[in-house]
């Protein structure tokens, strides 16, 4: 059954077994639940990748109410249809957006948001940590660099190109790699004198990890304080009012600055909804919705018009509600593309159906679109990367063609 078949895509490559290697130690972490990394790209196009850690429930965020099996699988997690009280927000029939994503819905109505449904990476791991590693590596194994960093190498014209920037106390694997990525986080103003800071830098220069870190950190602070002025967020984490919202807004402003970063990675957690999903998912989606709105506001209309925001997660969740009013780790889910450069206003899916025999391993939404084809399309059509660079970002994906029609011509 195909509800909406705007562009026929087909099943991803051969099914892969769970990876045997020992992984998970190096899995990325987030501070205060949120983190942001930037880099510099040539040209005018802006790209923000938002990682949702924990496994966003795609069937909860974008509900296929037109599928006759949906309500039966989901029980109380299936919200009323669009137009009813507490119902989902209409996406043109058959799919409804979770009501906590009202600002995303407004973008959708303005043709600036696109939903890709039944999408998954090429891996079939239901481990958060393996799946996050592979999602960020852009490969079927954990690599030492992320696909967005490898794309940056091409944008910058090589590892020695103009340096980029990272916001948050850490850089996610997605942004690690040969292209230089600098790092910014909200901080109290430093009380160290320039002379003392120079001595500290000299002392750390011989350390292979701390030497480059202290030098790059200072460069970034100079840039960010010039760009953000007195409005810079002063702290990280919940207690100090940091977190995803302020980081996203700061990211937007930095990206709108002349000479500012063109590529950013933002992340946030809170999507691992095993228990009482109704309340928890609504809260996490509200935070996402507000953060995305803040990002847009920080950028301003002119920059937003040249922007693509790609929202991805490590996996979807089980099609059936579990025994504790939540959902467990699954396979396919949704990706969102937002921004003035997106050819939005549609749900793009080769819908696999939720009925008898349609679920992947009789439990998950079956993947019919390879996430790599979506990301490759953004790199090719939005950042205008040549085919070799797109392939280098996603090694071993030669058989996966970039999707068409995602980006405004």
């Amino acid at each position: 059954m195909s509800l909406l078949d705007l562009s026929p895509t087909h099943c991803p490559g051969p099914r892969l077994s769970r990876r045997g290697a020992l992984l998970g130690f190096g899995a990325a972490f987030a501070l205060g639940g949120s983190r942001l990394a930037f880099a510099q790209a040539s040209g005018d196009a802006r790209l923000v990748v938002v990682l949702l850690r924990g496994g966003l429930d795609g069937l909860g965020a974008v509900q296929p109410y037109g599928d006759p099996a949906f309500a039966g699988l989901r029980g109380p997690l299936a919200l009323p249809e669009p137009g009813r009280q507490g119902g989902t927000l209409d996406l043109g029939g058959r799919f409804g957006l979770h009501p906590s994503l009202a600002q995303v819905h407004a973008l959708y109505r303005g043709n600036q948001a696109l939903v890709v449904h039944a999408v998954a990476g090429p891996y079939r791991s239901r481990s958060h940590f393996d799946a996050q590693d592979m999602l960020e590596s852009g490969a079927t194994e954990r690599l030492d660099s992320g696909w967005l960093n490898r794309a940056l190498v091409a944008v910058q014209g090589g590892p020695r190109g103009q340096a980029g920037l990272a916001v948050g106390l850490d850089v996610p694997l997605l942004m690690k790699g040969p292209a230089e990525v600098r790092n910014f986080a909200p901080a109290a103003p430093s009380a160290l004198s320039p002379d003392l800071m120079a001595r500290v830098e000299g002392l750390l220069a011989r350390d292979p990890a701390f030497g480059p870190a202290v030098r790059r950190g200072q460069e970034e602070r100079r840039f960010a304080s010039a760009a953000l002025g007195d409005d810079a967020p002063q702290g990280m984490g919940g207690r100090r009012g940091g977190g995803f919202g302020p980081l996203a807004a700061a990211a937007g402003r930095l990206m709108a600055t002349a000479g500012g970063p063109r590529i950013a990675a933002l992340e946030t957690a809170g999507f691992d909804t095993h228990v009482s999903q109704g309340i928890k998912l609504a809260a996490s989606l509200t935070m996402l919705d507000n953060g995305l709105a803040g990002l847009r506001e920080g950028m301003g209309e002119a920059v937003w018009a040249r922007t693509v925001v790609l929202v991805i997660t490590e996996f979807g969740r089980t099609a059936r509600i579990n025994g504790t009013q939540g959902t467990d780790h699954g396979t396919a889910g949704v990706a969102l593309l937002l921004g003035g450069a997106v050819a939005g206003g549609k749900v793009r899916t080769d819908w696999p159906g939720l009925g008898q025999g349609r679920l992947f391993e009789d439990r998950d939404l079956a993947p019919t679109t390879d996430l790599r084809g979506i990301a490759k399309a953004v790199l090719r059509d939005h950042l205008r990367l040549p085919p070799q660079a797109v392939d280098a970002a996603f090694p071993g994906s030669a058989g996966i063609a970039p999707a068409t029609g995602l980006i405004r011509a």
């Binding site: 077994s17 769970r18 990876r19 045997g20 290697a21 020992l22 998970g24 130690f25 190096g26 899995a27 972490f29 987030a30 501070l31 791991s125 239901r126 481990s127 958060h128 940590f129 393996d130 990272a166 948050g168 106390l169 850490d170 690690k176 600098r182 910014f184 986080a185 901080a187 109290a188 430093s190 009380a191 160290l192 004198s193 003392l196 800071m197 001595r199 500290v200 002392l203 750390l204 011989r206 350390d207 990890a209 701390f210 870190a213 202290v214 790059r216 950190g217 200072q218 602070r221 702290g235 990280m236 957690a269 095993h274 228990v275 579990n322 025994g323 504790t324 467990d328 780790h329 439990r363």
Partner: protein
């Protein structure tokens, strides 16, 4: 000072306090700590450590408290857990058996229960004191079993309401809330606490193990919550996990956990984590193989494993290769400056400012243990700013070089000592000691 004495204190301990005696035989000093830890004391000015029963009573109160994250009951419960965390930090500051405390923090990270799930947060301190420390030098399977029965993991990994699809609870007439499986705890025990994905288990194994663990919950009794096996929620029948059969009932889960703890893939997994912690981010193969062999040959005897760690030649080779994570760094600075319990609150805040809020790991796999995750530009600048603030508090002492010698011994580099001597103020000099590579590493 023998560099080995410094390495023992820094790599195997939590950093030297200036008044710590210098052990003549560092290996023997560590060996003597391989013994049942003493109970965590109540320190002056701090609350008594929470017992598991007290934590369970808090859990019970929280469950009954009215909704809303900031109700008075919830604030009090959070304050009680904050106090418990302060007590643990103060203990670590003063400890004269810091190898035990390093191992305790290692296992607390291995069996992560995070305060980010508020219903589970009050159990972290009791997990440390009543599960990890008494089993620090027992067999791994005893530690695993005790951890898996502790309310913290059961709540954090949401097993409490998991019910077998054919259990009495699920079959009860009028069951319209569809009680059934929740596979979270089962998956994370397989992946994180025992065999790891290297064992090649399947989704079927995960589901089957979740069935084995049904009924493994905590009981909300009249006063306190405690582990209880609920036959009503338990999935009837025999189950198969990794090709082995396990019987119905509570005993099935006990046997399955023991089987997993004894699995060769678990030996390899834990040996790798330990070698990463004590030797290098990318641990040498021989070091992993050595620990793995001791694990295997002693039936997972953690005392033997600990003695073997102490005897890994690779762990004693300078220079210090591991990056101190914020927990380690802040504790090492606090110990080095001789801080007491009255500074604990400030130190807990520092851990958060430097990117590692205590007992609040973002995900069940805990905090990372590799330099690439900690030596990032902004995280380092936050540390430097904090080190400068600390230095302002102690600048009246006016002997930064003596401080460097007392805490780092021969590991203090000539460059750092020279810079500290040339600094324009005592605060600047202390700052330079505290942000030197040798203080940032372990």
């Amino acid at each position: 000072m023998d560099p080995r004495a410094s390495i023992a204190a820094i790599r195997f301990g939590l950093g030297r306090r200036p008044d710590d005696p210098v052990p003549g035989d560092p290996v023997a000093w560590l060996d003597r700590q391989v013994t049942l830890p003493s109970p965590q004391r109540q320190l002056p000015g701090l609350a008594a450590p929470l017992s598991q029963a007290q934590a369970a009573a808090l859990y019970q109160q929280r469950a009954m408290a009215t909704r809303g994250e900031n109700g008075p009951a919830r604030r009090e419960i959070r304050a009680a857990t904050d106090g418990d965390a302060l007590g643990w930090v103060a203990h670590c500051l003063l400890s004269d058996a810091p190898f035990q405390d390093r191992l305790t923090n290692f296992w607390a990270n291995h069996f992560t229960v995070s305060r980010r799930v508020p219903n589970a947060g009050m159990f972290v301190g009791p997990l440390i004191r009543e599960v990890i420390r008494p089993n620090l030098f027992n067999r791994y399977e005893d530690l695993l079993l005790a951890a898996a029965r502790q309310p913290g993991l059961i709540v954090y990994l949401s097993n409490g309401r998991s019910s077998g699809p054919n259990s009495q609870a699920a079959m009860r007439p009028g069951n319209n809330t569809r009680r059934g499986l929740n596979e979270n705890l089962a998956r994370e025990i397989l992946e994180l606490h025992t065999v790891s994905p290297a064992a090649g288990y399947t989704q079927e194994d995960v589901t089957s193990f979740a069935r084995i663990l049904t009924g493994w919950r905590i009981d909300r009794g009249d006063e306190a919550a405690a582990f209880r096996f609920s036959n009503r929620q338990h999935e009837p029948g025999e189950k198969v996990l990794l090709g082995r059969r396990f019987p119905e009932g509570e005993q099935g889960a006990v046997e399955a956990l023991r089987f997993l703890a004894r699995h060769p893939a678990t030996h390899r997994h834990i040996a790798t984590k330990l070698a990463r912690h004590f030797v290098a981010d990318d641990p040498p193969r021989e070091a992993v193989a050595r620990i793995e062999a001791v694990f295997r040959d002693t039936g997972g005897d953690l005392a033997a494993v600990s003695r073997a760690l102490i005897r890994l030649p690779q762990a004693w080779a300078p220079p210090l290769s591991k990056v101190r994570d914020p927990l380690d760094y802040v504790l090492a600075v606090g110990r080095g400056l001789g801080f007491g319990p009255d500074q604990a609150e400030w130190l807990v805040q520092a851990m958060e400012d430097c990117g590692q809020p205590l007992w609040k790991a973002p995900q069940p796999n805990g905090w990372p243990d590799v330099a690439t995750e900690w030596a990032q530009p902004e995280a380092l600048l936050h540390r430097i700013q904090w080190a400068h603030a600390v230095s302002g508090r102690v600048a009246q002492r006016r002997d930064p070089r003596g401080f460097a010698a007392a805490t780092l011994g021969p590991l203090a580099s000539p460059e750092m000592l020279r810079e500290a001597a040339r600094a324009g103020s005592a605060q600047d000099a202390y700052t330079l000691v505290l942000v030197s590579p040798e203080y940032l590493r372990r």
